[in-house]
Structure formats: C-alpha cells, structure tokens
Subunit: 476 residues, 2 copies
C-alpha cells in the first residue's frame, strides 16, 4: 500500500489508509503483513495512531514481531503505554526484545517500575543484562542515548576478515551503528575508528590498524546529550563512541539519536526562553495539571518580582500626582527596555547553545551590546519625540499639562529615558545568560519575561530620574 | 599531533597547538602534513582560525590540496573569505575543486559574484557544470543543500556487480552520501532505495530490484530545508533524495546538512521569538550595522504599537487622576498578561516547528489554553490579593486612597483584572501563530515582545473596565 499525499502536508497521510487496513484485518488478517510490507514503519505508526484503540493490538499482532517492534519505536508515547497495558508480560517481552537496545530501554523507562520489571524478567538473559546496563543511565545522558549494538574488531584483524565479518553481521543482526567500525585492543579498549567506506576502500591484505584513525572523539556515558550533539555536529560524525574511564567501548550514540537530542534540547531552550519550565512532553500530550505546574511557578515568580515596580511607583507617588502626564509613557518606556532585552537574551542564549560564545567572551559581548543599546535607544527616542510633537501640534493631547511644562522638555525626558532604558535592557539581556552560567545555572533560564521584569523596575527608576532632571522647577 | 583537552571546554583545544605548528612551518614545512595527518579537519580548522592571519595561507599550502579543502569546509566564513582574497583564481580553483560539490557551491555563494565567476572559470568543466547547477537553487532549499555525489545503480544490476561498483567507488571517489544506494530506470528516474547494510546482506546472485524498497521519501529541489529536515527526522534517514518533476534523481541531502539545517532553522526561530529579524550570520561575526538593522525594525514597530497604550491611558485620564492608586498596579497587570502570552507563544511556535501541531489543531489548542489562562490568572490573582492585604495590614501603603475605597474592592479589581488579562494573554499568545500561518506568514514571527505588546493595550482596557465595575460609586 502507498500512503496518498495531501496538499497541505509535507508527509504522506498514512492515516487515510486506516479504513482499508481495518477491512483487511477483518477479512484476511494474514495479508496485512504482505500488503504493508513496503511501508516505512513511521507511516505504519501513523496508521496505528489513527486507528480505533481497540484495533491497535490486533493490527500489531498481524505484523511479524520484528516489524511490530519497528512500528512501536515510532509510536507516540501515550499510545505505546496504553498498548502495553493490554499485553501480557510475555507478549510485551517478545515485542521489546526485537527493538534496538536503546529504544527498548527508552520504552521500559516510560513504564511504571513494577511493570517494567515484569517485562524485563521475560526477556532473554543476554538482552536483559544489556537493557539493565542501559537503564542505569539518565535518559538524557550519553549513556541513556547510546546503543550497545556497534561494530568493533581487534586492530590486528585483516581487512578481508573484517569485511567478511561485517557482511555476516549485516545478514544476521540489526546493528544500528553500522557505518562506523571501531578497533579495540584485547581488553576492549578503543584504539581507532574508520568509516565503512574506508574499510571497503582499504587495500586487501592490510590490517585494520593500518587504516584506522587513532584520533577518536569520545564521550563518557555520564556526559550530557548536549555535548554528544556538539561533538557530532562539530566533527560531522554519524556515530559518537561512549567509553568508560579505562577507554573501554560501552556503546555508540547514532546520528538519529543525536538529532532527537538536538530537537529535545532546542524545545527545552525555547520553552525556557518563553518564561516557563521545560515541559518534557509534547504540548498536545501533556496533562493539564502537569502543564499548569510548569507554567505557574515562573509566572508567580515573575509577578512577585514585578511587584517591585509597584514599590517604585509608590516611591514616586508625589511626583506622579503632580505630573500625571508622566504616567502616559510608563508602559511605552518599560516595554521598550523589555523588548531590547528580549532580543539580546535570545541572541546570546542561542549563541551559547551553539558554542559560538563561551563564558570568556562576556566582555566582547558587552562591548557589542553597549553601542547597540545606545543606537537602538536613540532611534526609539527620535520616534518618541516625533510622536509627542505631532500629537501636540495636531492638538490630540496637551503634554504641557496646562502650560506647566514645555513640550520640548517633556519630549526630551521620554527620549533620554528611552536611550538609558534600551541600553540597560540590552546589557541586562546579554549579561544575564553569562551570569547564570557562571553561577552554575542553565543560561537558557534567562527568559525574555525574566529580563523584561528586571528591566521594568530599573526602567521606571531611570524614567523618573530623567524626569526629575529635565522637569525640575517646572512640573516637579 | 594530539590536541590537548582543557577542563572548561568539551572539545580538545586544538588552538593550543598553534605555536608548535608555526615553528614546524618555519623549520620544516614539508613535515606539517605528516605531523597533522591524524588530526580531524575540524581541529585543523580550529588551529587555522587561531593562527596569525599572515600564516594561514602558508599553513594550508603546506597540506595536501584535498586535506586543505577539508579544512576549508570547517573554517569560519569570515576567515575563508579573507583567505580566498589572498589567492589567485587558479589557486582558489584548485582548492575548491577538491571540496564536496555542495560545500563548493556554498563557498562560492559567499563570495562577490565577480570573484566567484573568475574561480569557476578555472574549475574543470564537469565540476563547473555541476557547481553551476547547484548555485541556481536558494541556499536554504533542498537543492541548495544537496550534494550531487550519491550512489545510484540501474535496478537490473546484480548484487555482486553493485558491491564491486561500491568498492571501486569507495577507493576512487569521495562520495558523501555513501550509505544509501538508489536504484533507477534507464532514464535516471528513481525507483527504489536500500541501505548499504541491506546491499551487503543481500543474497548473492539477486538483482537490486529484488532488495530495494519501492516506497521512497523524496523532496523537490525547491522544497525548504525545513521540510527536508522534517522527513529525515520522521523517517530516521541518513540521506534524503531530491528529484525533479519527472522523478529523476538530482542529488541527496546528507544527514550532516540536515543537522545544519535544523540548527539554522532553530536559530532563526529563537531570534524571531526574541522579537527581531533572523540574523543569518553568527552573532560574533555579524557587522554592527547589519545587526542594528535586524533589531531596529521590530523594536520600532513594537514601540509604535505600544503607543496605543498611551492612547488608552489618555482615554482613562479622568479616572487616573481621580484614582491614582490604580496606577500602581498597571505594570504588574500588564506584564502578567505579556508573560502568560510569551509562554503560550513559545509553546505553540515550537510545537508547530516540530510538526506536533498543525493549522487544523487551532481549536484543540484554544480549548487547552482557555482553562490554562483562567487557572494561571486565578493563581496570580490570589497572590495579588495577599500582597495588597499584607501591605495594608503592615501599613506599608494605604490602598484605600484616604478611605475613599475599601481594600477588598481594590484587591478584587486587581485580581479579576489579572484573571481576564492572563486568560486573554494565553489565548492571544497561542492563537497568533495560527493566525500568522493562516495568512501565509512565518508563525515564528509571533514573538514574545509582539504578543506582550498586543496584550498590553487590551490588558489596560481590561484593567480599567474591571476598575469601573468594582469601584463605581467609590473612587470612580
């Protein structure tokens, strides 16, 4: 079966095949496997997700076990959990045994501990040990992301032996990390690396030690998935080897998991930048209460911090009552500082995430942001002056407060306050990620709302100070 | 040479080798190639970047041309441009001829048109035609990202013939997309795909047509790099084939370019989310004026929009003069709406970028965000009530405005306004990306500052309306 394409989606809409497959399941379940044999497991997972829940199990059982396991790897977490609840431990074990070791560990990680134990107990001993080893690592560490099915060979092996081995392996097993061959010494210590292409190109009769590169980029199993992604990206690797303290090869993180890690880290960064905790689950699948918890914390902290603006306003109570015209530009002046800060924060947190900027570069950033802030503030200041004069000329509003202040003085107050606040915003927004990183926090926590809140308080103080300077003797 | 590691970086600090390499360049330039033979080109590029500018050319010329071309691929754009300026067109052509076709096109794209033409003229005819074909596509399209060096074979070929061909190819050429074999008909139309592993595992004597998968995911050369990334991620592909309207295979986008595309798109999204245009260049390399242009536009638009708050405040001028106590909570109330909107916007734009949410899902999102907004607003409202009563009790401030209003009425005004504003913020923040996408704009343009600005105006109106409702007859 070939999934049809629909105009407004980039992917074939496999879900449209559901009715056909359901009919087939009713009439001749044995032909389901054959009819879907050419379909990619990702498309079959789409079909499975669009199917009525009570038919999902029938559908997967109609597929060969290895194929069903492939589909499971692409199924969304919620659906997968539901499905496993409908299986006996033995049935579940048969399925997960066919999965790649790293995906198997991920699936078991999602379940209740007790249930995972039950299923693990039914898995063949070797695969069980392997899975238990993987389960001991944090899911977002190199160890949690790695697969234990890689290709390694003693460095004394000849090219021909290695090629024969690779071919046998290709037939008998489903090694995920197939295109990189690692050479080891007798005790399994990593010595070198070559691509399968280099192995294929090697002159016959040579030994692996002759062609392997001895300069190998490695990670420890406890390294973050972020650092694995950094190495894979910097060196264009399709697999990153994970070694223990003795440089023994434990596993490899393959490029598809590297991409997943990159996407996951990016999602976290964007959510933090938006002013909340990272959700850890897709937006459409997370429970309502769970999402609320992730959002309410920061929202409350930000509001409590923003209360200082109330205190600042209380402090300038007298001035405010005497010069009510100042109030009009409070939101404008505050938001401009927040906006420029938001720009700087996104620029710097992203540059840090990409490794373009490190802690040492803080002063280099500061001497870029200082003139940027002044220039941007000046542009906004000029716009504000134009607006104030325009409104006054068109008699839309009387900024002289019944003649007690000149328009020019008031306009200059707003303009200079803008220069000060936008400069302060740019500096705060750019330096906060450095400060957080220096203190050991995630620089991505320097969210746009947090910067805006910090700038709001100071911004008000800058605005009123400028006003006192420019309007002294007239309004104040 | 092995680059040393430094504690605070994840990558070896190749730059520390610079003095050794400079000495070697002076004393025996012919041994530079041998001494650095085991180093990864990415590390050599780090060395090159840390070197005094006037030695860079000597260093690259001391390496074999193919190796120098590898280093060039990893060099940062600025350095590379400088370097090419110091070369004759013929020298430059010798270097770029050795690069992968897609990287070669990228490098030429960076140069002045005239200079690129000069260099192109010196490149051998076949490579020139290939490069010119690639240069016609937008750099961020599938065509701009693809390489023309892929492995394809007629589907009638036997497994043994194909394997021999692959091995010869591995020796003679540097095909980037080596691990996926495409089968074609006589006129070059794409028919099927297999991984190199599947080819190695295939029974001898079979034909490629027997083992190839006929369900192939393809893109058009004009598709965006985003959709290439989506397909590679969804189907875990190490290469995505690019075909023309007749399904003739034009090239493939390899996984390293997919990762670059993902990173690039993500950088753009984060920068837009921060309220500016995407920079297109790394933060530390972009020119000051260029960066200013990317930031000033949105900052000005946002400020001009925020001027409507001034109009709203002017509208409520009388109320403000009569009930100055209302002013105190203006920043708090406004920022809370902006913050909840910022959360929703980052959640939704990211979910859209990942394909978790499509245009059709808008109402599903709306019925999640509506109760979220109400719940979050209620939490903030309760905090505000506690704060107001606390300050009044501790005599830190007199919210009764000299007894003209009861504390409870004032507290309720703020609390109910918060519920309204946070709900409005969440809805605006979540619906804006849908609206933008529906209108054909990039949903990522729904930046946190833009949402905050939209919510500020409405927020003020909600606040004053609530005040009129609760304080009518007392203060107002």
């Amino acid at each position: 079966m070939t999934p049809p394409h629909r105009e407004d989606t980039e992917r074939p809409v496999a879900a449209l095949l559901v009715p056909d497959i359901l009919t087939l399941l009713d009439e001749s379940p044995e032909s389901v496997a054959l009819d879907t044999a050419e379909m990619h497991p990702a498309d079959l997972a789409d079909v499975a997700e669009a199917m009525p829940e009570d038919r999902l199990l029938d559908f997967l059982l109609a597929l060969p076990t290895a194929r069903a396991a492939d589909v499971l790897e692409y199924l969304d977490e919620e659906r997968r959990t539901e499905l496993f609840e409908g299986l006996t431990a033995r049935q579940a074990a048969a399925l997960v045994s066919q999965m790649q070791p790293d995906d198997r560990a991920d699936v078991l990680e999602e379940m209740e501990d007790e249930r995972a134990e039950e299923i693990l107990a039914e898995i063949p001993a070797e695969a069980r040990a392997e899975t238990e080893a993987l389960l001991q690592y944090e899911p977002d560490s190199a160890g949690g992301r790695m697969t234990t099915e890689f290709v390694s060979a003693p460095e004394t092996m000849t090219v021909e032996e290695a090629l024969r081995g690779v071919r046998t392996m290709a037939r008998s097993e489903r090694r995920e990390a197939f295109y990189t061959v690692y050479t080891t010494d007798v005790s399994g210590r990593l010595l070198g690396v070559m691509s399968l292409r280099e192995l294929l190109a090697a002159p016959e009769g040579g030994r692996l030690a002759d062609i392997a590169w001895t300069e190998v980029q490695t990670v420890s199993p406890h390294d973050s998935q972020e650092s694995v992604a950094r190495i894979a990206t910097d060196y264009d690797l399709v697999a990153v080897p994970v070694v223990d303290e003795d440089r023994r090869l434990l596993g490899v993180v393959t490029v598809d998991d590297v991409i997943d890690a990159i996407q996951e880290e990016q999602t976290e960064d964007v959510q933090k930048l938006g002013g909340m905790e990272a959700l850890d689950e897709p937006y459409m699948q997370i429970s309502f209460l769970h999402m609320l918890r992730k959002r309410a914390g920061w929202l409350s902290i930000l509001m409590v911090s923003e209360m200082f603006t109330t205190s600042v306003l209380q402090h300038y109570d007298v001035e405010l009552r005497r010069a009510a015209v100042l109030i009009l530009f409070v939101p404008l002046v505050m938001s401009s500082g927040g906006n420029s800060g938001s720009q700087s924060t996104s620029l710097i947190t992203r540059a840090m995430a990409l490794g373009e900027v490190t802690l040492r570069d803080w002063w280099r950033v500061a001497i870029r942001e200082l003139p940027s802030g002044i220039a941007l503030g000046t542009i906004l200041g000029v716009i504000a002056i134009v607006r104030i004069f325009l409104w006054q000329q068109l008699a839309l509003y009387d900024y002289t407060d019944n003649g007690r202040v000149t328009v020019i003085r008031f306009a200059l107050t707003v303009a200079f306050a803008l220069v000060g606040i936008v400069t302060f915003g740019s500096l705060t927004g750019s330096m906060l990620p450095f400060l957080l990183k220096r203190l050991g926090f995630d620089p991505a926590s320097a969210s746009a709302p947090l910067v805006a809140t910090l700038v709001d308080m100071t911004g008000l103080a800058i605005y009123f100070t400028t006003a006192l300077l420019f309007l002294r003797g007239t309004l104040l």
